[in-house]
Amino acid sequence: MTDLSDRQKLGYIASQAADARLNVELETEGMTLNIGPQHPATHGTLRIICRLDGEQVVWAEPSCGYMHRGYEKLTEVRTFPQVTTLVNRIDWLGSFANEVPFILAAEKLMEIEAPPRAQVIRTILFELSRIANVSLFLGDLGVQMGAITPVFIAFRDREYVLNLIESATGGRFHPNFDRIGGLKDDLPAGWIDETRQVMVKLREFCDIIEDLLFGNEIFQSRTRGIGIIPADIAKDYGLSGANLRASGVDYDLRRDQEIAMAWDKADFKVWTHPDGDSFARCWVRLQETRESCKIVEQLLDQIPAGPVMTKVPRIIKVPEGEAWVATENPLGVMGYYVVSKGDLGPFRVKIRTPSFNNISIVPWALKGVYVPDIITILASLYFILGDIDR
């Protein structure tokens, strides 16, 4: 048994006591509170059924699927190039990062590899979409706790990143820029300089958020020691990304796996935090944003000359076989298991999305917390509805 916080122990006792009262006296049956499906804190349609004793949660269960769009099934009736358009929409804040693992899986099946220039540009865009994703998280964190200013600052500075993505790929939210065998197009002139300037702005943004939010005593008192997830519990529930690293597990697929991307060319630190509480999760994400800026800046210097597309047939047919590729997406480990029967389109695609696993810990983490802490814990776990329901 791992160390539980006092609050979680109390919560367990309270839940037992509530059950006992229910059975024996039928006096205080508690109150069932539905958080969602339409609720400002779930930023989407997630429903969390909580049983409350006063303001304390004795039992909670997430109920997802309100936004299920059936992407795994839809991919079966589409060709490989068309699938990129669909998987863009899974985690809609870091769209480019969704395309990469799928394309890599298809490339693995076809036994081709993107040219080095394409790999570096892919990695840069991947990190930019991570920044676009996590910077919104940092702003949204404030809103969940009642501070309205950080979200506007986040939107302001995220706009620079989106503009960069748009000027390179043509799409702000859904780039659809990745192709089997490389990239759709090369970067437009002046893009590299612009990116350097934006990275400076984003570091400033990180400093602002750190002073405005993370240094705030109220924020700290709301997040420190709340929703502690010990390392082995986090592993048991299959958490990934910053949620796992905040529990002290040093695991980052960018560094830990051999993959046809350019992360090995950059020197970056994988941040972990020993605490495993809400503050740790937020803090790790803040540091990761800075780390991403660093990766982008380093890779901008290392873009090799050359083509961005290998020779692929005009009509792509993927040979028969199965491939699994996972990458460290903004939210955590995202992977595609692609089964091909040699057709134009995949036979079956299994999508492993990080948010789905990350919210599976909600019943465990919410036991014994107060209603306001539900919001803090949900916000710090950081899920995106499209990513849960896909």
Binding site: T149, A168, L187, G190, G215, E217, P304
Partner: protein, 167 residues
């Protein structure tokens, strides 16, 4: 710096935050806001922005490639074969595909750009125009005349970054 920090008691976190909001207030008063007052002033989208698809009708041969590659099947093409006058004098009349209908339903379009990419005859182009919302959803179905009008707004492709290889 670290020494200075440890000297200060815990309170500054709150006041630092207030300082930042005040700083932004001053910045907005002095240099203006970061927002754009949309109907009065507009941002220019980047050249590559995928705003609306323009059709160069003369190039289209109604080959149906775009229709088949569209992920949500929002392009409708009808055509018929007809005889065109021969290229050289005395030659045989050529058989060409004539385009009767080319509709894109923007209510369905996902702006993925695959149709533009697969077009083998350079008949489709992206234009960064974005102001074509309609009160009625049916009006979002642009026919070939309307798609042809967008051709005027299609910009030149941007220069590429150093080290890029021309196709």
């Amino acid at each position: 710096m670290a020494k200075k920090k440890s000297k200060k008691p815990k309170t500054p976190g709150l006041f630092k935050g207030m300082g930042i909001t005040l700083g932004i207030l001053g910045h907005t008063i002095k240099d203006g806001a970061n927002t754009v007052q949309y109907p009065h002033e507009k941002e220019t989208p980047p050249i590559r922005a995928r705003g609306v698809i323009a059709l160069h009708e003369d190039n289209c041969t109604a080959c149906m490639l775009c229709v088949r590659s569209c992920p949500d099947w929002c392009i409708y093409i009808e055509g018929h074969k007809q005889l065109a006058p021969p290229r050289r004098a005395g030659g045989k009349p050529r058989q060409v595909n004539h385009l009767d209908r080319f509709d894109i339903d923007y209510a369905l379009c996902m702006y993925c750009g695959i149709c533009v990419e697969v077009c083998p005859f350079d008949a489709l182009f992206w234009s960064p125009e974005y102001e074509y919302s309609e009160p009625k959803i049916a009006d979002l179905l642009h026919d070939k005349n309307k798609l042809g009008e967008w051709m005027e707004t299609v910009p030149e492709a941007p220069e590429l970054e150093a080290g890029a290889q021309k196709k």
